[in-house]
């Protein structure tokens, strides 16, 4: 059976990757294939990795406060490199003010997880969303 593939990406200048690594490990234990990018990637690099690795989920972790500029860039470059961001589940994690949620969702983000979200919630969300998107693309 095909495993759900997840890219866990760190973008920008912040050097906090403990949270991302912990989530990555939990996702692996939930049976996902997790590709970790390491720190300080650019939106372009993350977009290209998402395409080459043919992932179902792109998880972007940011603590720099630059999410409103960096997240749409990732989505833009996925398109530019020939990918289809609508086929992928895009989730953002980190310190994101609630005021930004709506706009991020409008940009194409499927889920936002602030620190302290139970890991089961993230896992269930991913499973559900991946299944939904797959149905849509097959139809």
């Amino acid at each position: 059976m095909k495993k759900i593939r997840v890219l866990v990406a760190k973008i920008g200048l912040d050097g906090h990757d403990r949270g991302a690594k912990v989530v990555a490990r939990f996702l692996r234990d939930a049976g996902f294939e997790v590709i970790y990018t390491g720190l300080h990637r650019t939106p372009q690099e993350v977009a290209m990795a998402a395409i080459e690795e043919d992932v179902d989920v792109v998880g972007i972790s940011l603590h720099s406060g630059a999410h409103m500029t960096l997240v749409p860039k990732v989505i833009k470059y996925i398109k530019e490199y020939g990918g289809n961001p609508d086929e992928m589940v895009i989730v953002v994690g980190g310190i994101i003010p609630e005021d930004d949620f709506e706009e991020l969702m409008k940009m194409g983000v499927d889920g936002i997880f602030i620190p302290g979200t139970p890991i089961e919630e993230i896992i269930d969300f991913i499973k559900k969303k991946v299944a939904e998107k797959k149905k849509k693309t097959v139809a």
């Binding site: 692996r28 234990d29 997790v34 970790y36 300080h40 290209m48």
Partner: protein
């Protein structure tokens, strides 16, 4: 994307098509088989390099630096990094990509159109290589990469698997402290075309190199002694004809044989990488000139074909009820028939069954 789109895309440099093809092949979808059939004629050109060794010795770092070096030499590079999956969850944490240098160095591998990187889980297959790695190599080959590098974790005898896909096998080691048990037990001396002692900055590297070289030379010496014994049995009469034969054989041996070089590197800072790249190119040349490349590929394909046939035969026997597999099983359990006769009867039925003569 449907199969037509993927095949066309893959053969025309569309990276997303290549990525999707890999997914379909890796997961054993019927479309994957279809794609493999249609791209096969375009394969066989790439030089396939395997890199194996224990976790943490620096394989991914070497792959990154080596890729930069080959890019400077004008070669394009496809990379497959195979990591072991978790035996408990079936999931995997694939972290080789993070060693690939990104924007912070002169060569931006992540965005280089001459580089394609794919992480794979071995999915619990003993041997470190996913069962589908060989086909993924072919996809990259058909896409047009000059080199395909396969990184796999070796732990125990499993490194042997790298031979199944690589034209050039590289074994990476670290300077050994204490005794050399690790290297000895792993059968590592059998499989390398090139040996790398990485982390030479840590000290003790010279000793490991020396030890490795002596082991590899010893192997060579052993072969020579065996050869001498062989000739000795034909009596000692120094006949001109025999002498010329011997000399010719020796000359031929020199072409046929490759004594694995041992190279010291500090992959972190790129030291020794040029020499490694030179040696890889030299090995490829040797493989071609000596006919070894064809030989190795012949062995590999015959094994692959047999595997495919066995797989097919098994699934036919289990799925074709007219062969009465289960009935035969029961009869053996009831002591009515012995397993050898039962197997012969099933094979006979299979050969003469209607389903088997529809193709060809």
């Amino acid at each position: 994307m449907d199969v037509d789109e993927i095949v066309r895309g893959l053969l025309n440099g569309n990276r997303r098509a290549l990525a999707r093809a890999i997914t379909l092949v890796e997961n054993d979808y019927p479309e994957g088989k279809d794609i493999m059939k249609r791209i096969f004629k375009k394969t066989g050109k790439a030089h396939v390099i395997g890199i194996t060794g224990f976790p943490g010795v620096g394989k991914s770092t070497i792959v990154s630096k080596l890729t930069q070096e080959f890019r400077m030499r004008g070669k394009t590079v496809g990379i497959i990094a195979v990591d072991p999956g978790s035996p408990f969850s079936g999931g995997a944490l694939l972290g080789d990509r993070l060693r690939m240098d990104g924007i912070d160095v002169n060569k931006r591998l992540w965005l280089d159109s001459g580089v394609f990187f794919r992480s794979m889980s071995s999915r619990g297959k003993a041997g470190g290589l996913s069962a589908k790695t060989g086909d993924v190599v072919r996809l990259m080959d058909a896409f047009g990469f000059n080199l395909v590098i396969v990184e796999t974790v070796g732990a125990g005898q499993s490194e042997v698997d790298i031979i199944e896909v690589a034209d050039t096998s590289i074994v990476v080691l670290m300077p050994e402290t204490g005794d050399d048990i690790q290297i000895n037990k792993a059968g590592i001396l059998e499989i390398g075309d090139i040996y790398v002692v990485n982390k030479a900055d840590l000290g003790g590297a010279e000793k490991t190199v020396k030890w490795l070289k002596s082991m590899l030379l010893l192997d060579d010496e052993a072969v020579r002694i065996l050869e001498k014994m062989d000739h000795g049995s034909h009596n000692e009469s120094v006949n001109d004809e025999i002498l010329t034969d011997k000399l010719e054989k020796k000359a031929k041996d020199a072409i046929d044989r490759w004594i694995p070089p041992v190279i010291m590197t500090i992959a972190d800072i790129g030291e020794g990488i040029k020499e490694l790249a030179d040696t890889i190119e030299k090995h490829r040349e040797f493989m071609e000139k000596s006919g070894m490349l064809k030989k190795r590929r012949t062995v590999r394909v015959s094994r692959e074909l047999l595997d495919l046939i066995m797989e097919d035969v098994k699934s036919r026997i289990i799925n074709d009820t007219s062969l009465k597999f289960e009935e035969f099983v029961n009869r053996v359990v009831e002591n009515e028939i012995d397993p050898h006769t039962a197997a012969e009867k099933i094979i006979e039925k299979l050969i003469f069954s209607k389903n088997s003569d529809t193709t060809l």
